[in-house]
């Protein structure tokens, strides 16, 4: 590993300046569970690592009925899944945050870092997409909001400009009769990377028999996590039954464009995305009914 400068600014303005000064040769450090391994492996050559954990605003985890959930960029997975509001209102995010890596990883890794790392297999990203999460970004030119489904640009690449930092992820308050679920397939039972994953959310009508709207997002099956728009739209107004589930799961497979690699084959991944989506929809619907 080459020498680089480590800085830990105490406020966002300093952090943005420190990032902007070095352009592409600066990287942000949150939990470090990805970046440190990438630096050791020689994937990047950098001059400066900017630790964002000392910035109070980025450590905020808060909820209000009016504004929804705010997850600061430096908030670790364990804080997210131990939060009672998350457990109650954001079940898909709870599912994904609590199965990333192992317990030690979850103590360090952040939801924001998982998003910025932009891995096709990033387990939290589909969960964020189906709960309509928005990334709040700050940079030399001020703040902007980016829908999470538009945040990743390719394997390991995101849409942040030089000097920009993720400040927080904002997730609106779900309406009543809402349910969500996240599933991934790994050959082992932990410490593994998804061969495929799928997050779904559904909003049922008051009879709890019909789907008002649904969102399906899948991972590890394309250069970025994918919001399966067409498959999601298919469920609008449908009966919440097995036929609808099968149809949407089948349509979701069309949104996958995976590769063959040591973790899985194209056929296996497409097949699994269908299976996982079907199973996740069943659970999300029953969660919505349980309310």
């Amino acid at each position: 590993m080459q020498e680089f400068e480590y800085v830990a600014p105490a406020n966002l303005e300093d952090a943005i300046r420190l990032m902007a000064e070095k352009g592409p040769r600066a990287k942000a450090l949150a939990g470090g569970t990805d970046i440190l391994i990438q630096l050791r492996g020689g994937r990047f050559q950098i001059d400066r690592l900017v630790d964002i954990k000392k910035i109070p605003e980025l450590n905020e985890l808060s909820f209000s009925e009016a504004n929804g959930l705010t997850v600061g960029a430096a908030v670790e997975c364990y804080r997210v899944y131990e939060d009672q509001t998350v457990q109650k209102l954001y079940p898909g995010l709870f599912d994904s945050a609590s199965l990333i890596g192992g317990i030690q990883i979850q103590g360090r890794a952040t939801v924001g870092g998982n998003l910025c790392n932009a891995a096709p297999s990033g387990d939290n990203i589909p969960s964020l997409i189906v709960q309509e999460a928005v990334a709040i970004v700050a940079g030399p030119n001020g703040r902007r909001n980016i829908s999470v489904e538009d945040f990743c640009a390719g394997p390991g690449r995101n849409v942040l400009q030089e000097g920009e930092l993720l400040v927080a992820i904002h997730i609106p308050t779900p309406k009543p009769n809402f349910g969500a679920h996240f599933l991934r397939f790994i050959p082992r039972n932990e410490m593994d990377i998804a061969i495929a994953n799928s997050a779904v959310s559904v909003l049922l009508d008051d009879s709890k028999q019909h789907i008002v709207s649904a969102r399906i997002a899948i991972g590890s099956v394309a250069p970025t996590p994918v919001f399966a728009r067409e498959a999601s739209a298919l469920l609008t107004g449908k009966e919440a039954n097995e036929a609808s589930i099968e149809e949407a799961a089948e349509a979701t497979k069309a949104a996958a464009s995976p590769i063959n690699d040591m973790r899985g084959t194209i056929d296996q991944r497409i097949h699994l995305v269908g299976v996982l989506t079907k199973r996740a929809l069943r659970t999300a619907i029953s969660r919505a009914r349980e309310g």
Partner: protein, 768 residues
Amino acid sequence: MTTTIDKTAGTPGKYKVLGTRPVRHDGIEKVTGAARYGADMNMPEMLHGKILRSPHAHARIRSIDTSKAEALPGVMAVATSKDLPIIQARELNPGQGGPRLLAENDLADKKVLYKGHAVAAVAATSPHIAEEALALIAVDYEVLPTVLGWREAMKEGATLLHDNLTEKFSATRGGAGEDTGNKSNVASHLQLKMGNVEQGFKEADTILEREYNTQTIHQGYIEPFACTAQWIPEGRLTIWTSTQGIFGVRGNVAAILNIPESMIKIVPMEIGGGFGGKGTGYLEPVAAVLSKKTGHPIKMVMSRKEVFEGTGPSSGTSITVKIGAKKDGTITAAQLGMIYEAGAYPGSPMVGGVTSAVSAYKIDNVLIDGYDVVCNKPKTAAYRAPGHPQAAFAAESALDELADMLGMDPMDLRLKNVAMEGDRAVTGVPHAHVGLKEVMDVMKAHPHYTAPLGGPNRGRGVATGYRLNGGGSGSSATINVLANGTVNLTTGSMDLSGTRVAIAMQVAETLGLTAEEVTPQVVDTDSVGWTGGSGGSRITFDTGRASIAAAQLVIEQMGARAARLWEVQPEDVEFVDGIFICTKNTDDKFTFKELAGKLMTTGGPVTCSAMDTQGGVGGALAGNIFDVEVDPETGKVDILRSTVFLDIGQAAHPSYVEGQMQGGTLQGIGWALNEEYFFTPEGVMANSSLLDYRMPTSLDLPMIDTVIIEYANPRHPYGLRGAGEHPIIAPLPAMANAVSRAIGVRMATLPISPGAILEAIEKKNTNK
């Protein structure tokens, strides 16, 4: 749950110490972090060594320019194969093996033969500078076609890895074989025969033929290779290293550096797993050369990637089995073709496979052809019961399928054909105790074998594993008696698995002491007699025998001291239950402790050394039963229940026997279900991390129940057998059999990954 079934003892409590579970002597240091492993050495003025490795799987080295690396501030020396004296002195003859071959594997000479093959080494003031310097070494390669596996290597007109490698043919186990003169990637062909297979197949009512394949896999020890070398200018060379055999390292380093063994001291560090893979060193001669060049101690530690790409895994194999039986289950003939990939240089564990595959069965007509084949993968190294698990995967899977074809219970088919003491194995050697019948009787009677499976998509698999163990290599031991009546036990056997305590317990049993009153230590090559490496399931047995012999000398010498005090002859003193008694006057007694306190006034200290070269821990048998459930939509295997059975002779410390049984089962499960080197077409390992090389974690396993079976081994004073290797054999076929039964498709290729299961189910459904 642990069950111990003692078949020979008669009464419980046959031994006072053996069979109990004292706290291991090295336990506190290990759990508190005080124990020092390979990478824990730090010395004043120490430098850090790093290795440049080949990016190509097969290439000729045209030139190496190290000048830019040498000019980098902080770099103190660069070494290449030119710095290893043996490479200058002798041409490589890959068929002969030996230290010349090891040297070339440590630093490539004219060719690189696998991605990750070491090419040059740098010593610098920090590991980071050393790493930077590697990038400044310019190697001019002429890239050659990659010969990635046995299939390519054995093809007509295949690219040859070694210009002067010729195929050897042998019709007996052992010996060099006859040189056919044919230039080939096949280094050797071993053919063992018994009876007449053609005739045997004619007598069969049912014949099964199938090909079984396995991939390159790694032992997966958690501690990477690490060593530190200090070569005092004009003086001796000391190497602190994590190894399974200090004397083997000493011999190889001496030969590679062309210096006498007396100039070298090898100091063993604690070892964080070896499983056979640390019988061979890689870094020691390189670190020594860098130390000589710089005058500083050199520390070298491999990364996980280097361990995967640059050290010895176990062979990928392809094994064809043809096996025939009569309607009543009598096996009439077995024919096996067994191809083992050796990696870059000859020396796969093919012989282990050929000699063990069907040896636990009495089959009159057997023909086995084994092939040792070089290809552009890392040179293979030993892994628990080398070559046996792949062979058992083929043979025991075939038996399972044959049982189905015959409509027999798989255990009954095996029992029908068990080899017993005196039956000849395919090696021509009559068996001593086999243990197959004894272990299978226990397996069949165990509640697990008849418990209901309780659901769809479930299957139960059984298999046995026979380790055909040959001769031991010799061990030394020294015992010093302390004035307080305790003893120090000194051996040269690296403790991989609790052997310190297991050997100390044998000494305690002999001397009438408690395990805690024996203090075992493992020392360097200057401080103990020659001792072969820790491998071959032999340490608790061989080093145990040497230590018992030393303890008997202690009894003899102390008896003589008692005789002097009692003014009788030494033969008038008996040692019974830890007490020295005068047979002339039975009121004259000394406890061991009392007499130990009198040694300094009766002639001085008692220090006794002994060695044991008998070897022959003997064959050993284990078996597994697995229940699995397969998710037919994802191909995921959930292991519901797992029981392992093992014939240990007599358990010294049952906890560590169970540890071997559970550890072997775990490693076998990984081998069966997920582990493999995933190579790109260019021969690059794509999954060289523990994230993607999927060894099982604790969450992937149920509790592995153990059943210890004790048929005393007549070759050991207390009846011990080995435990280290054979638990890894049966899990491969037992798991394959369980999954095959759960999904209704025979799985004949490892790993049986979820993807492979999905494909098999898909194929079955479309064929309907």
